[in-house]
Amino acid sequence: MHAACAAAVPDCRTVAGMKSARIDLPDPLDARIGQLQRQLARERKARQAAEAIAESGLRDLYESNRLLALLQRITDCANATDTLIDALDFTLGEICAEMGWDFGNAYLVHSNLEAIPCDCWHVANPDHLMPFVEASHTASFPSGMGLPGQVVADRRAHWIDDVRTDANFLRRDVAIACRVVGGCAFPIMAGGEVVGIYEFFSRRSISANACVIETMAQIAIQLGRVAEREYTREALLRDALHDPLTTLPNRVLLHERASSAFSRLRPDQRGLAVMVIDLDGFKAVNDKFGHDAGDCLLVATAARLRDAIDECVGGESVCRMRDADHQRANKTRATLARTGGDEFVVLLENIADEDLPVTIAASLLAELTLPFSIGRDEVAIGASIGIAQSNPTYRDYDEVQRDADLAMYEAKAAGRGKTVTFTEALGTEVRQRMSLERDLREAITEQQFVLHYQAILDLGTSTVLGFEALVRWNHPRHGLIAPNDFIPTAEETGLIVFIGDWVLREACKAIGRLQTKGRDRNTPLFIAVNIAPQQFLQPDFVPYLRAMIMETGIPAECLKLEVTEGVAVLDAERTRRVLEQCRDIGIRVGLDDFGTGYSSLSYLHSLPFDTIKIDRAFVAALDQSKSRKIVRTILDLAGDLDLTVVAEGIETAEQQAALTAMGCEMGQGFLLSMPLDEAAAFKLLP
């Protein structure tokens, strides 16, 4: 018990220690309070930590919402804007306002070479900042130079924490003077190239946090899309307005410029000229060397024309200035356009010297005289140029162009390498010709032609041997028109072929009707028909003749064709073949108007004619010995070559007697018979 007691009681020190420990032990309430206080402190700490986390999240969320809203506004603007400048204009203001930056400025970049000012900037707070603004919005920066140049070179954003310490910041002095501190610049990319830069400056340092960097990059993408759209639209416009081969303006752009220039003419309406240039001989090169060679030739020609015009006008022939610049310049301006396959037009504006177009035309023609090299070949081409100058009679540009075209056709008709300037007289002449041509076309479809017949007589017996069919145009307004007044135009326009075919068909029908009259004759009556060279040389002329004879059932020997020497001049070999084919069919052929043209003996010798006709000029002058000698010579020659001879234009009994005396067998003329309508003419027959 004692032992147990002794063991159970601690020594006093121990007891004292225990007692003291027991005193320090918190009583249950204090312990609870202390615990709760610690718990409260922990809870407060946790709350504050939670608040800090929430605050940080809220701040980030606020920032990102703000930047998203900024991006949204700029995206909306970018979607609704056509040009990069317009989009930048809006963007600079929005970013300055949202970011609290003082100054935003933009540059355009061409070919990754240089940031050039585009007069697009925004100052949020102009106080004391204008010198820096002035130094910025007018400056250019080559790649690598200064903040914009660095962005061009590196193709990424750059930030300047402090302009005072950035060695490559070229505007440092003025920036310091304006108390600018921070800056940043961003590239705008389109099609893989830097096309623009936008930069910002602030009097405070600009912090480059990830959210801002990302937003600026997104904004740059939006701006890049605007630029891409703008470039695509420009390219489409360029393609629509330029000839892809020569890159010259096309007809559409020419017309646009010319119409605009016409509307800006001075009150006297002078100072504008149009030159239409049509290449001579281009088609031959194209046909001979192929289209690729033709294209090369066109490109080379365009370059020569451009150079020549530049030299004359003293500037760019293909003007690239903006229209507004132009009105300021008010100097002579030339636009070279390609308006067709081998047709170019020069529009001249603000001409002081009326002779300038002619001077330019001479220079252009001189430029084209040197041959062009195509591969190992050399080719020569020329040009026909028509010029028209504005004057008060013109109501619009199209009328000037129309007259220049007309002048060009005149130049073309006059042969290669000619220049014709339009005049009122030329206009009248051509308009009459064109009106005649229109009427002629109508005459062909409306069958307004009639045939008259002039008898051809045996001069010895005065009996009718046949007739010459002569075409008359029974014009609905002008009455009967003689061949001399329309055949030349018909020949120029090619309409002669249609008229000729009709004449031939009608003559053949008339021969059919004539057959009943001449049944009891020894020699059948004939009708002579004049054939124009173009008709005679038609590839299907002989088949057509055959078809006519088959169709009308007439004896071929009753049809006589009369051609002039002109056919032989055009193509002697072909003429010979056609003549032979005619003879094979049985048709006889006479040489008309002998003695007036070339009268080449070689034709007479080599071409198988049956008859020659002595021109009326010799008959009319038979009282002169010189003419008489010529007629005698022709008759001798015809006798030697076994050709029969017809004298035309016999108007007096003396002429008939003289011709008969010289041995001329046949003749025609007013003395013997006037040209008459068919019924009257056929009445001459017994």
Binding site: Q48, L58, R59, Y62, E63, G100
Partner: protein, 179 residues
């Protein structure tokens, strides 16, 4: 009133008068007492708390608010050092309140009704701080200005030129920092 103000008051009371001070104050003022910095609470709660504290400490309500503002500034400097680091003088710090501090406050505490101050330089070098708010907490403003001056080791002398507490339309406080 934003919860952050209540948190600041809690901190300064506990700091100055021991950790019982705040629970005592909350109980005495009869307010809910649960405030998080992110929440918004009735203005009356703050006035009940400061008026109660003023009564216990034997201060006027205005002096209580002045003391609160001045004492809160070191806590703010700990919590938001970036606002203070950008300045070297109390004057420029005070002037940045509209442009920087309040926008930042609005970021954190949606719907915070921050007052707008108008600053003008008087010819004699004094900064005239114009303040207008239905809360009429101009003494708190004075306290904050004094606290900011303490932060930059400066002394400031303030004078109320006009005061809403004296039935005038706005408060104009002239603050002078002797060089």
């Amino acid at each position: 009133m934003k919860g952050i103000i209540f948190n600041l008051l809690e901190d300064v009371m506990n700091h100055a008068h021991g950790h019982h001070a705040w629970p005592d104050l909350v109980d005495s003022a009869g307010v809910s007492g649960a405030y998080t910095s992110l929440g918004s609470y009735p203005d009356e709660h703050l006035l009940a708390l400061t008026d109660t504290a003023a009564a216990v400490l034997g201060l006027s309500s205005a002096d209580m608010l002045r003391w609160f503002g001045r004492s809160a500034m070191p806590l703010l400097a700990t919590r938001f050092p970036q606002f203070f680091a950008a300045h070297r003088h109390a004057r420029s710090f005070v002037c940045s309140v509209n442009a920087i501090i309040h926008p930042e406050v609005r970021k954190l505490y949606a719907g915070a009704g921050c007052p707008h101050f108008h600053f003008t330089d008087r010819d004699d070098g004094a900064l005239i701080i114009a303040y207008q708010s239905p809360r009429r907490l101009c003494p708190l403003v004075e306290g904050f200005v004094a606290g900011a001056s303490d932060h930059y080791g400066e002394t400031v002398a303030m004078e109320h030129l006009t005061c809403m507490l004296h039935a005038q339309p706005l408060c104009r406080i002239a603050a002078r920092w002797p060089a």
